[in-house]
């Protein structure tokens, strides 16, 4: 029994390992990704700095805590990026999916663990650069609170999984739509807005804030950072619980969808 489990886990660990080292091979393209994210960070930091200088405190955020928020949102954005939905679409369109179906690996797990591996690689490569940029050009003080940071790390793992699951969901939808550029684009734009990647969701008008409560995007960026910035352990655990709920809900939907899709799978040529 234990041996079986070990075998099963080994498979997925090696997927993580392979993709982790992949990041280091393509380090230049990841560097470009980081630089373009840093430009976004710079633009939005200037805007909110200007606003907060004129009215010193809005919704419990000071200039430094807001800059911190934007910095960590940049880090999470750079970590969670993936091309999964594009790859799944390609698998389906070209019939390549057949290669994965004969492997003794679950199709969803394959992409999930691939994304986790890539994201862990990016944590090592990207986050330092982004933090250094923030410390040098904007005065950011990172206070060390081990409990918060360890919870933050768990929370980031959850957000990687959630974003990956959303991408897989969109990828699987292309079983019915064939080409899904539009859906993918819509997803990326909506997630940018409702995940709180531009500013904390507290700044939004009430209607938009309420809409965000019912979407999984909130758990990708806003919740991890509030885990980092609030010090009460109970609220932190509650936020982690919400993330976990989304992980399981999306996992359930994906599995249902996968079964439905594979039953009606048709490969032209092959």
């Amino acid at each position: 029994m234990i041996k079986l489990l070990k075998n099963k886990l080994e498979k997925y660990f090696s997927i993580i390992k392979i993709n982790f080292s992949k990041v280091l091979v393509y380090k230049y393209s990841f560097l470009i990704e980081i630089i373009s994210l840093l430009f976004q960070f710079t633009a939005s930091t200037y805007i909110w700095k200007y606003i907060l200088e004129n009215s010193p405190q809005i919704k419990n955020y000071s200039i430094s805590s807001l800059t911190n928020y934007l910095l960590f949102s940049t880090i999470i954005k750079s970590i969670t990026q993936n091309t999964t939905s594009m790859d799944i679409e390609k698998d389906i369109r070209t019939g390549n999916i057949y290669n994965f179906l004969i492997l003794p690996i679950d199709y969803i797990y394959l992409y999930l663990f691939r994304d986790i591996g890539l994201s862990l690689g990016r944590i090592f490569l990207n986050s330092w650069l982004i933090i250094i940029y923030g410390v040098v050009f904007f005065d950011i003080n990172i206070c060390f609170n081990i409990l918060n940071y360890s919870l933050f790390f768990i929370s980031i793992i959850f957000s990687i999984i959630i974003y990956s699951e959303i991408s897989i969901l969109i990828g699987l939808l292309s079983f019915w739509t064939i080409s899904q550029n539009g859906l993918r684009y819509a997803n990326s734009v909506i997630s940018a807005f409702f995940s709180g990647s531009l500013i904390p969701l507290d700044f939004y008008p009430d209607i938009l804030k309420n809409i965000s409560l019912f979407l999984p995007y909130r758990s990708i960026i806003y919740l991890p950072i509030s885990v980092l910035q609030t010090n009460t352990i109970y609220s932190n655990l509650f936020q982690l619980l919400i993330q976990f709920l989304w992980v399981s809900v999306l996992f359930f939907i994906n599995n249902k969808l996968k079964i439905k899709a594979f039953n009606s799978l048709e490969i032209v040529g092959g």
Partner: protein, 268 residues
């Protein structure tokens, strides 16, 4: 000369038709693109709303005035994306995969073929929203819509689109030397974020860089400031743009020419 121009114009429409036909292969997707293509602009409007929900003025600019900047910048970006989006894939696909070969063996200008191979009609929705924003905000501000406004907008939007073309050409051509290692285009796209806001909120270095070295502020801020005259210091900066446009197009053309002569096919 005229004959050549006519030939290129007729070729242009033929290539367009070809591309539209390939697009209509996935009609559902085309419709979804058409709807969601405007999403980024709509999200930007939302973002603007959120900003002004928290503050009445952003560097002397109120909501509708900033919306006008957004309108101008999304019109320019939309036009650029419709006609010149294929530059995006020069480094990432044409040079690496050796796709450029097929252009080199035809008796037509290579750059023309590259630009014409993909006309991104999906971005029309972004263009429509951009124009709508200009008109809507002008009405809300109480700026009279007259012939001058229309002519001014057309001329300077064309200038900004061609300045962008020059800039993108310079950076895309670096891929002739760097191969697939570094592709600068995503960085250029991320700089569009700066073009949507009044520049008074940025510091001096950023102002200088984005005015003269990377002329992004001309997409939205300078034309609107010329029309509304809010920051008196920068009212006439807009007239640098024709010169910059010429400079960037020239440099872009030269870099492209040199790069193309260095091109080595990678396939087979």
């Amino acid at each position: 000369m005229i004959k050549k121009a006519l030939k290129y114009i007729s070729l242009y429409f033929k290539f367009n038709l070809l591309y539209i036909k390939t697009q209509l292969m996935y009609p559902k997707d085309f419709i979804i693109w058409f709807i969601f293509g405007s999403f980024s602009t709509i999200i930007n409007i939302f973002f603007m709303k959120v900003i002004y929900y928290n503050t009445p003025l952003l560097g002397n600019w109120d909501y509708y005035q900033t919306l006008m900047i957004l309108g101008y910048s999304s019109t320019s970006i939309g036009l650029f994306n419709i006609f010149f989006i294929n530059i995006f894939s020069l480094g990432s696909s044409y040079i690496i995969e050796g796709k450029l070969d097929k252009f080199l063996i035809r008796p037509i200008n290579v750059l023309f073929q590259l630009l014409v191979e993909r006309i991104d009609l999906d971005n029309i929705s972004e263009l429509i929203i951009g124009v709508f924003l200009i008109v809507y905000s002008a009405l809300k501000i109480g700026y009279e819509i007259n012939v001058f406004l229309i002519l001014f907008s057309i001329v300077f939007i064309i200038f900004s689109v061609f300045t962008l073309l020059g800039l993108f050409l310079i950076f895309a051509s670096t891929n002739f030397w760097l191969q697939e290692k570094i592709n600068f285009i995503p960085i250029l796209y991320s700089l569009f974020n700066f073009s949507r806001f009044p520049i008074t909120i940025f510091n001096k270095k950023i102002k200088l860089i984005l005015t003269f070295i990377m002329p992004y502020f001309y997409l939205g801020y300078y034309p609107v400031n010329f029309l509304l005259k809010i920051d008196t210091k920068y009212v006439y900066t807009i007239f640098y743009q024709p010169i910059l446009c010429l400079i960037f197009l020239t440099i872009g053309g030269i870099v492209w020419k040199i790069g193309l002569s260095k091109y080595e096919s990678t396939s087979i």
